[in-house]
């Protein structure tokens, strides 16, 4: 060590002492063995994967914005760091699912009152509409690793209400979830990190009333620049997605879904620009549908929203505008 100490006294303190026989540039740069040890994978310390239902989160955020038709106004008023009330008005057409290929639009207008309580350990979100429908979401941390989530839509009409209880357990490099829903629905899923970038998961579900069950498998590969996911289910659906983060502000996404039973193929490409004053998302579909969604920040807490969806084969044109005040 003696010879390298005298070398270290001569060189600036930030550079590690060069090996005794190094010459020129090799003496100044840090030794290459350090780089190799940083890239070595620690197989016992893999990161925790994303939850199973969020495996396609980046693709869904870019390709499926909440398109609407008509006027939308949302006002969120915070009373407290944790507690806020929201008032929301919607006037426009909502699509009713129909068996034939025609789209049936029903003009609706409603006012929705909501209350949110957000705590690190407990989250309560409730929304009630003028026709008496209640949307409730509860997320409660029962312990460090165990979380209970409840999702419910309650209506005044009998037999139309839905509810789902989820128990999530988060391990060191895996997550598991158990679901119980109304109509005797039971489901479970499990996802495990297999390498620093790859995680694999699977799910099973059982519908009591119709005596149907299903199994699915999913894989997700993500790096800083891209995310690729694939999902296969025994219901005959194959879904693939790929998101590339081209830069800080731009990401491009694509999505492919194939239904083996009905031999239906859907594919879409989209972009997502996150700029300083606005967020613009657009997509084009293999079914001939072009959509765009713009959120423009006019002022602190005031957002202006434009939504457009043009379906050329069905000749269905939906344009909407709105404003969001508050966080």
């Amino acid at each position: 060590m003696g010879s390298s100490v005298s070398h270290a006294a001569a060189s600036p303190p930030s550079i590690p002492p060069p090996p005794p026989h190094a010459v020129g540039l090799a003496g100044v740069l840090p030794p290459k063995s350090e780089e190799k040890s940083e890239k070595k994978v620690d197989w016992l310390n893999l990161p925790c994967p994303v939850p199973f239902e969020e495996i396609q989160r980046e693709a869904l955020m870019s390709l499926k914005p909440e398109l609407f038709e008509g006027l939308r106004f949302d006002f969120t008023k915070g009373l407290n760091q944790k507690f806020s009330l929201s008032h929301s008005v919607f006037m426009g057409s909502m699509e009713v699912p129909s068996q034939s290929s025609d789209t049936i639009k029903v003009p609706t207008a409603h006012y929705e009152f909501g209350a949110n309580f957000l705590d690190p350990k407990l989250m309560l979100v409730g929304r009630v509409l003028t026709d008496g429908r209640l949307n409730a979401r509860v997320k409660c941390d029962l312990s460090d690793n165990l979380t209970l989530k409840i999702n419910a839509q309650l209506t005044n009409e009998p037999h139309y209400s839905q509810g789902m209880f989820n128990f999530d357990y988060k391990g060191k490099d895996y997550r598991s979830q158990f679901q119980i829903g109304n109509n005797a629905f039971y489901g479970a899923n499990y996802i495990q990190s297999v390498s620093p970038h790859l995680s694999l998961g699977s799910e099973v579900f059982w519908l009591g009333h119709q005596r149907k069950s299903g199994v699915g498998f999913a894989a997700r590969y993500d790096t800083d620049k891209m995310v690729a996911t694939g999902q296969v289910a025994s219901t005959g659906i194959v879904a693939l997605s790929y998101v590339q983060k081209v830069s800080e502000k731009v990401s491009l996404a694509s999505d492919f879904m194939y239904n083996l039973m009905t031999r239906d193929v859907t594919s879409s490409f989209g972009y997502d620009y996150i700029l300083r004053q606005c967020r613009l998302r657009g997509k084009i579909d293999s079914a001939g549908c072009v959509a765009a969604y713009l959120e423009e920040r006019l002022n602190m807490g005031v957002n202006f929203i434009l939504s457009a969806e043009i379906n050329h084969p069905k000749k269905d044109y939906k344009f909407g505008f709105g404003m969001t005040v508050g966080e």
Binding site: F75, K77, L79, N80, K82, F83, L85, F113, A115, N116, F117, D119, L124, V125, G126, V128, L134, A136, A152, L154, N156, H159, S161, F165, I180, G181, N182, N183, A184, G208, H209
Partner: protein, 69 residues
């Protein structure tokens, strides 16, 4: 938890009758509980959030709840 999720339809009543009076009593009682729980959740969830929120720190004032500003 499984017993709380009982069928909402009346289709299973035929099969349940064969299990004996105890099973039928449990099924009817659990259906009655689910119906009451649903009504309580429907009317009480939003007031529950408001009560929890108004009691969290720092306590907001009642006028802040009602005024639009």
């Amino acid at each position: 938890m499984a017993s709380r999720v009982s069928s909402k339809g009346k289709g299973k009543a035929g099969r349940g009758a064969e299990d004996g009076p105890t099973a039928r009593f449990v099924k009817e009682w659990s259906t009655w509980t689910m119906k009451k729980a649903k009504v309580i959740a429907h009317y009480g969830f939003i007031p529950l959030i408001i009560v929890i929120g108004m009691n969290s720190e720092p306590k907001p004032h009642l006028s802040q709840l009602l005024s639009p500003v």
